[in-house]
């Protein structure tokens, strides 16, 4: 009996492999994938929509999707969410060595370390009186919806590896990003869109730290789980536009001819790899129609555009926030919006005000827009960057800082109107309820109904997972 089942699974595994749902022939299929195989309906349903490798959720899902408002460059927690009056009092005085001794330091290596007071005042917001910078009045106005976490820690002090750590839980290239893990694990609802979409916007001025495509790569997971970058200029999706001089109907004719020609050879069309390829042509054709409709905001009422502070699709962070909501409505599982240029090594006071203005209104508008549509309760919104900034001055700016920084989250099972964790009196070290990046990942997966220790992929002889060997769910911030 057992033998028979194993044989059946092997056969289905082969078909599955040939259909290239899971490209790594023979190596990548863990027990979970085999479990998924036990229900053939999951594999050979009408549409090619991937339903995920987990046979069932481990927990009841609080969130169905994630929108990560990724503030790239390292926003200063000390000017945004973590008010440190003591640091202000010590402005200009030497940073006590007890804080910094033996700690990794980026650009301030070998320099005299002096305290640099908060450059913008804070204000209390909402029923719980959460402290939020006066630079963020719109986010302040939704204080009762959001949970501020002031005790994040990361392990990488330079942008590129820190992004990789935030997205994949390790600094080593080649591991899957969170969005890929989630799409692989629980699939997506979208029929004609990818399950993981990445949006990017440029900020003004400043340093424009680069962002590599590896940040949304599927790593060792099959490449179909790679995030698809919707570009803010040109075709939203690469190669989306029909060639010049070819109409939609003609494109259809060509695709139909490809299918008809292939079907004249029975042993070809019976090959699951080939029939899957024909269905990918159908999917591509549908995307060519669906994506332009999605990225045009023609059907959005005026007041919605105004709430985000935009006229239409202009490639800005604000426009991407609205696009994120539209993607979420269409069943995309993981949406990541990179907004660049929070890297305030100098002119912090003026430049962070510019950044804050670029994101404040739209971030808040997105949360409230989701709420009005009844989607906030099952959409996890995360706002934050790859690290924070030093309490020490770097001229009139701050350097990279990994031992304590802030993010906020909303919706999807997160308790609003609370602040979690704390840094020391100078905003250097997270000292209370420390949250590591694996903890953040574990919590995100938990809210999606996934036990982070059980979403694994076997490679090189071990079961890899997003949280590697770490990660504790941060229960205190959950509803």
């Amino acid at each position: 009996m057992v033998e028979l089942l194993t044989d059946d699974l092997e056969r289905m595994r082969e078909r599955l492999t040939r259909r290239a749902f899971l490209g790594r022939a023979g190596t990548g299929l863990g027990a979970l994938a085999l479990a998924a195989l036990a229900d053939p309906k999951r594999l050979f349903a009408e549409s090619d929509r991937w339903r995920g490798v987990l046979p069932a959720l481990h927990f009841p899902a609080r969130a169905k999707r994630v929108i990560h408002l990724y503030q790239a460059g390292g926003p200063s927690h000390l000017e945004l969410f973590d008010y440190k009056p003591k640091l202000g009092q010590m402005d200009g005085t030497p940073m006590p060595e007890s804080f910094t001794k033996g700690q990794p330091i980026a650009q301030l290596q070998g320099r005299a370390l002096r305290c640099f007071g908060p450059q913008h005042p804070f204000q209390r917001w909402g029923r719980a009186g959460q402290e939020i910078s006066t630079l963020l009045p719109h986010i302040g106005s939704i204080a009762d919806e959001i949970c501020i976490v002031r005790s994040l820690q990361t392990e990488q002090i330079n942008h590129d590896p820190a992004h990789t750590f935030m997205n994949t839980g390790t600094q080593i290239s080649g591991r899957p990003s969170a969005g890929s893990w989630i799409w692989y694990g629980i699939g997506a609802e979208a029929e004609d869109l990818p399950g993981f979409v990445v949006l990017t916007s440029q900020g003004r001025g400043g340093q424009m730290q680069p962002i590599a495509a590896r940040q949304w790569h599927s790593g060792f997971l099959p490449s179909r789980f790679q995030g698809v970058h919707f570009r803010s200029k040109g075709d939203a999706v690469l190669y989306l536009r029909d060639p010049e001089g070819v109409t939609r109907d003609q494109q259809r004719d060509v695709i139909d001819a490809v299918a008809a020609l292939t079907k004249t050879q029975p042993d070809w069309v019976d090959d699951p790899e080939v029939s899957a390829r024909l269905s990918q042509y159908e999917m591509a054709f549908r995307m060519q129609t669906a994506v332009p409709a999605l990225t045009s905001f023609a059907d959005e009422p005026r007041h919605v555009l105004e709430s985000y502070g935009i006229e239409g699709m202009d490639g800005s962070f604000a426009a991407n926030c609205l696009l994120a909501r539209r993607l979420a409505e269409r069943g995309v599982r993981f949406i990541q919006l990179y907004h660049r240029d929070w890297d305030n090594h100098s002119r912090l006071k003026a430049d962070i005000a510019i950044k804050a203005k670029e994101v404040d209104q739209a971030s808040a508008a997105l949360v409230m827009d989701l709420k009005q549509r009844g989607m906030l309760e099952d959409t996890l919104v995360i706002w934050g960057g790859e690290f924070g900034r030093t309490p020490m001055a770097q001229g009139d700016g701050r350097d990279h800082h990994i031992k304590g920084f802030s993010i906020w989250m909303a919706g999807g099972g997160i308790r609003g109107g609370m602040t979690h964790g704390a840094t020391d009196e100078l905003g250097y070290m997270a000292v209370e309820d420390v949250v590591s990046i694996p903890d953040l990942h574990a919590t995100m997966l938990y809210l999606l109904g996934i036990d982070h220790t059980k979403l694994t992929f076997k490679l090189l002889g071990r079961d890899f997972r997003l949280t590697d060997v770490r990660g504790e769910v941060v229960k205190k911030i959950l509803v």
Binding site: R24, T200, R224, L238, Y239, A260, Q265, D399, R462
Partner: protein
């Protein structure tokens, strides 16, 4: 070479270093109830055997104490008498069993004995410690052989193999907590070591009792109904073992629990090819191994593939390209029995062979044209790529191929090529991110090199031992750092740009060296003061006094655009703008538009600096091949867009022969024509154009100005680096050739020499030497020498190569933490359980490593390589885990075949072409790929290789195939990487500096994909859609995804649209006048076969419909026939051509076209 007994050292390590887990129970008070008398044989002997004599016995005698014989016990050890007869509690033996201090307590660093055991010992001593004479206690491991033998009764079924059947179960389910990683180890139990697994545990259980599954705790625990006790423990997330797995374990133990070292760690020996029933089928020994497996399963191999299919398969597999119709015809007409073998030899001899074989190798070694981290800047290392291609074409033996890459620089009299090959050690990901910490990146690079070299040659995951001992394989953290130490001599700056190494040829070297010496000499001469100069300087100073200087402010650029795709970019802090690079294409003409910020009040004049820059031709400032430029017209507009009238243009450039090339021509109102401010060729000097504004510009509030630079002389005479400044000095503002005298210098010159500081004096003297007429011949000679060097350098090969330096110490980093310097410094060494390198005390080098990798004793390298070669030609490896042949790798389907191939490969001198020829001329290779239903049902996974595989072509082949079919493909080999079409703005998220991809022009647009620029952070998207990897880490096997992005690329990427329209043109020209003739020609060319009638009907319908439509819409037809940069035919009917383009697009999108079957 010394070969220790495999696994010996592991055992030793395990016994010395195992660390106790948490205490399950502490020794308690002695029970008060009377107990039965202690019997030595029954009660005491097992305790001594399990817990004492391994360290206090004949093999090891800790503290000079032996507890295996009564004499030893009585004699005692270094600490004195072990016991006092009759006084259990007072005896040292007892006291050491219950000691609080874990260093004192026995068994040392292991779990203490149970209270019952301790009580037994006490009572035994109380009773005078009786020991039957002659009874010797041996360390408990396995019961006497007789027992095991008796248990292995025939009823236990076929013999279970440890390596094949048992180890995978243990490795998968148990080793994470009961394996080599001591940090995760539970209950002191190791199931990877026979000695530990069969010894009593602190809990008194024995995990594996050979011959006795019923008393083996392993069986009990994996079948325990209590979820908290059952293994694998519920907290591991692993499912319970299947009934089949448990049965395997049970039978293995019943059969005596025979252990084997992991198969791939044992040196392969050549097995004899097995006997087969169908003796006619095998063409070479490979086939005998395969056929034996097929016959054993009661099946038969597939018939030989049709000749067309066979040649198409071999052509893709050996050259990455389809056969031409002529080649197909020749093969079909060749009736000689060795016709196929001669085709194989032709393909092996083709230069395309090296290009095809290099691709998987470049994936392994992660070759790319950019650095990888953060700004991901380019580095020149393509000569390494060309070396790899050439090495496969020359059939360089794989052992030499290995040595030159790892240690080409260490070979005696290393040739240019060998040094280029040593670039292998330099192509890892590197960073130049500001704030990156050198020590951290040094550790990152060492780890990267260990991961890569061990994966490439050993198929090993030594990288997993960076933070802890490997969980499944016998690699220790020490092995990781010892392996890293081989690379400690590789010169590599931890943080910064990778400047290429110059590799001059024999003839270039003396020229370069003498030029450099001359430049050096001239520079020193300019730095040198002489009495003559010192005498002349005061006069110059006097002449300088009162000179009127100009004060200029550079204007900050905010936005840049260009008309022709050249991209001047904001560069750094000096506000200059720089055109992409010297190597990017220079359009013949261009117009730059720059918006600038200024808060100056009443600007009276502007200065345009044309600046030199090393990456421009001959150092620039222009982009034409001589480093020159022509500025047809300069326009400056105010914030309202109003053009500011300019007048009185003067320049620093030498007076031009023609007035039309003087500065005035830049403000003559004519933006085209041949005239303009010109520099005809680089002279190693910055130049400037100064123009006055007719009216003062700027109110003092911040405003923007727009600078427009028209450069329409043609021939690429555009500016490479420039900057705009403004002045508010009163007019007239003029300039002239020569060095600009600054106000600082005038002030200094006017100062009383007696009051100048030493620095001031020196800076003035230095400045004087820049202008002194007496030194002008020296300056001219220097400029000339620099120009000669600038002309020579582009002809000198440049590539990253390995340079050796005194090795930096490599420490074991506790938990991989680079901040922790407490670890021991290690010397280079190979993994401890493999054959060792013998150097007689000399520090082992990379060359030793390379020779060790390819020594006949090395059990891994040849297996790893032949397994990957097998994968190329059969669709998967003999072991399917190409990246890992360690204990977690998949057991090979044909272990004897793998070993035969490995031994054959080594014994025939690591001859790659010979290996490939053996594989592709085998009967196994020649089978049809069509799957018979019975075979599909019986062997769906094709583990028997009873048929060939259908494989979607790799990314490079998908592209090359379309270009080959259309006739566009260039077969030019080697050289700098090229840029096939890529969507605009795809690199928008790169920075430092920002970059744009410039499509290659001419033949370079149609080069084979292996020559495509490989940008790690943003790989070319059309190749990436077909699973080309980013080459950040070693990739042994690409995924073969099937995603809509592939359909979008084949339908819409200009590469494929252009290929279709060029293909259509050829169909019309070469396919004859009829539809049937044309379609037949197209099918032969694209698919190597004739179209069937049904196919003709479908494509005929498509042609007619689209031809009609394009006849009605000539504009659309014209757009389509203009796709891409290839020349557009003027003599063909546009609607006819456009209709055939649709037919060609359909053919180029067929799944059959991108499949090797």
């Amino acid at each position: 070479m010394k070969i220790p007994r495999v696994l010996g050292p592991v055992v030793a390590f395990a016994l010395c270093a195992s660390v106790g887990g948490a205490l399950a129970s502490a020794p308690g008070p002695a029970p008060t109830t009377p107990a039965p008398a202690v019997d030595f044989a029954r009660d005491v002997q097992p305790i001594l055997a399990a817990s004492c004599v391994r360290c206090h016995g004949p093999r090891k005698t800790e503290g000079a104490l032996r507890l295996d014989t009564p004499e030893g016990l009585r004699k005692g050890g270094d600490s004195g008498a072990a016991f006092t007869p009759g006084d259990g509690k007072g005896s040292l033996l007892y006291q050491r069993l219950v000691a609080e201090d874990p260093d004192k307590r026995m068994p040392r660093r292991r779990r203490p004995l149970t209270p019952a055991q301790i009580e037994t010992v006490r009572r035994w001593i109380d009773g005078g410690a009786p020991w039957p004479p002659g009874m010797v206690v041996t360390a408990a491991s396995r019961p006497p052989a007789a027992v095991a033998k008796a248990a292995a009764s025939p009823t236990d079924g076929p013999l279970v193999s440890f390596n094949k059947d048992v180890r995978p179960i243990l490795a998968d389910n148990c080793y994470a907590c009961h394996g080599p990683d001591r940090n995760r180890r539970q209950m002191d139990l190791r199931l990877d070591l026979e000695e530990v697994a069969t010894a009593p545990l602190p809990s008194d259980e024995v995990a594996i009792v050979p011959g006795h599954p019923e008393t083996s705790a392993l069986i009990e625990r994996v079948t325990d109904p209590d979820e908290q006790r059952r293994m694998p423990h519920v907290s591991s997330g692993k499912p319970r073992l299947s009934a089949a797995q448990i049965d395997t374990l049970r039978r293995w133990i019943a059969q005596g629990a025979r252990w084997e070292p992991h198969w791939s760690y044992i040196r392969p020996t050549r097995p004899s090819p097995p006997a087969v029933k169908d003796a006619d089928w095998p063409r070479n020994p490979v086939d005998a191994f395969v056929l034996a497996g097929i016959e054993k399963a009661g099946l038969a191999p597939s018939p030989e593939a049709e000749r067309r299919e066979l040649l198409r398969r071999a052509s893709f597999d050996l050259t990455g390209l389809p056969p031409t119709p002529e080649e197909v015809r020749a093969f079909l007409a060749d009736t000689a029995p060795d016709a196929y073998e001669r085709q194989v030899d032709r393909l092996l001899a083709s230069p395309r062979f090296g290009e095809r074989m290099a691709v998987p190798w470049l994936d392994l070694v992660r070759y790319a044209d950019s650095a990888g981290y953060h700004s991901d800047n380019s580095r020149t290392v393509w000569p390494y790529r060309d070396y790899v291609i050439g090495a496969f074409n020359r059939n360089l033996p794989f052992d030499q191929f290995t040595a030159v890459q790892l240690a080409g620089d260490l070979l005696p009299d290393a040739s240019l090529e060998q040094r280029i090959a040593s670039g292998y050690n330099r192509i890892l990901q590197t960073t130049e991110e500001g704030g990156a910490q050198p020590r951290e990146y040094r550790a990152i690079y060492l780890a990267d090199r260990v991961r890569n070299a061990s994966a490439v040659w050993l198929g090993a995951t030594i990288g997993c031992a960076q933070c802890h001992n490997h969980k499944f394989d016998p690699y220790l953290a020490r092995d990781f750092y010892s392996f890293a130490a081989f690379f400690a001599d590789v010169k590599e700056k931890p943080v910064g740009r990778r400047d290429p190494d110059y590799l001059p040829s024999e003839t270039q070297r003396p020229v370069l060296e003498s030029l450099e010496a001359e430049i050096d000499r001239l520079r020193k001469q300019l730095d040198l003061s002489t009495p003559e100069l010192e005498a002349a300087q005061p006069l110059w100073e006097k002449s300088l006094a009162g000179t009127r200087t100009q004060s200029w402010s550079a204007l900050e650029p905010v936005e840049v655009s260009t008309a022709q795709g050249t991209r001047p970019l904001i560069q750094g802090n000096d506000f200059s703008l720089i055109a992409t690079t010297a190597s990017g294409p220079a359009p013949p003409r261009d117009t730059y538009t720059v918006r600038l910020k200024t808060a100056l009040k009443a600007i009276t004049a502007f200065r345009l600096d044309a600046l030199t820059f090393d990456e421009l031709p001959r150092g620039g400032p222009g982009r034409d091949p001589a480093g020159g430029f022509v500025l047809s017209e300069i326009e400056i507009k105010d914030a309202a867009g109003r053009r500011i009238p300019l007048r009185h243009a003067t320049a620093s450039t030498p007076v031009a022969a023609a007035a039309s090339l003087g500065p005035a021509a830049a403000i003559d109102g004519r933006t085209s024509g041949g005239g303009g401010w010109a520099l005809l060729g680089a002279d190693r000097l910055d130049h400037r154009l100064v123009v006055e504004a007719a009216e003062p510009v700027g109110s003092g509030d911040e405003t923007t100005l727009t600078l427009v630079l028209h450069q329409n002389a043609g021939g690429g005479r555009t500016l490479g680096r420039f900057r705009l400044s403004g002045t508010t000095d009163p007019p007239p503002i003029r300039t002239e050739p020569g060095v600009v005298i600054t106000k600082d210098m005038v002030d200094l010159a006017s100062k009383d020499p007696a009051k100048r500081t030493a620095e001031e004096q020196e800076s003035l003297a230095k400045f004087y030497r820049r202008v002194a007429p007496a030194l002008e011949p020296v300056r001219a000679a220097l400029r000339a020498a620099e120009l000669r060097k600038a002309d020579l350098v582009p002809q000198i090969p440049q590539s990253l190569i390995t340079t050796t330096q005194p090795p930096e110490p490599v420490r074991i980093l506790p938990r991989g933490n680079w901040l922790d310097e407490s670890g021991e410094v290690v010397e280079p060494a190979v993994p401890h359980f493999l054959p060792q390198i013998e150097t007689h005390g000399r520090r082992a080098t990379r060359l030793d490593l390379a020779r060790w990798l390819t020594s006949a004793e090395n059990p891994l390298t040849a297996r790893v390589f032949v397994n990957r070669q097998w994968n190329l030609f059969f669709g998967h490896g003999l072991s399917r885990t190409l990246e890992d042949l360690g204990s977690q790798g998949e057991w090979p389907t044909h272990p004897e075949l793998l070993d035969w191939l490995a031994v054959e490969f080594v014994e025939t001198g690591w001859d790659v072409k010979r290996l490939v020829r053996t594989l592709v001329t085998s009967a196994t290779y020649r089978q049809a790929s069509r799957t018979a239903p019975e075979l599909a049902a019986r062997d769906p996974d094709n583990r028997l290789f009873a048929r060939q595989a259908r494989l979607r072509l790799d990314a490079e082949m998908v592209r090359d195939n379309a270009l080959a079919v259309s006739g566009l493909l260039s077969t030019r080999m080697g050289g700098p990487p090229v840029h096939p079409y890529q969507p605009r703005g795809f690199w928008a998220y790169l920075n430092f500096p920002p970059r744009e991809w410039d499509d290659s022009t001419g033949e370079d647009q149609y080069r084979r994909a292996i020559y495509t620029w490989w940008q790690r952070t943003f790989p070319q998207p059309s190749l990436a859609a077909f699973d080309a990897p980013s080459r950040e880490e070693c990739v042994a096997e690409r995924t073969r995804a099937n995603v809509p992005q592939q359909a979008l690329a084949l339908l819409n990427d200009p590469t494929y649209v252009e290929a279709a329209r060029v293909f259509a043109e050829r169909i019309l020209r070469e396919g004859g006048p009829t539809f049937e003739g044309r379609l037949g020609w197209a099918y032969e060319r694209a698919l190597g076969r004739r179209p069937r009638e049904e196919e003709g009907r479908i494509l005929g319908d498509l042609l007619r419909a689209h031809r009609t439509r394009y006849a009605a819409d000539p504009r659309a037809a014209r757009q389509l026939v203009h796709a891409g940069a290839a020349p557009v035919p003027g003599d063909l009917d546009v609607a006819e051509l456009a209709g055939w383009i649709s037919v060609a697009r359909a053919i180029l999108n067929l799944p059959e076209l991108i499949t090797r079957s």
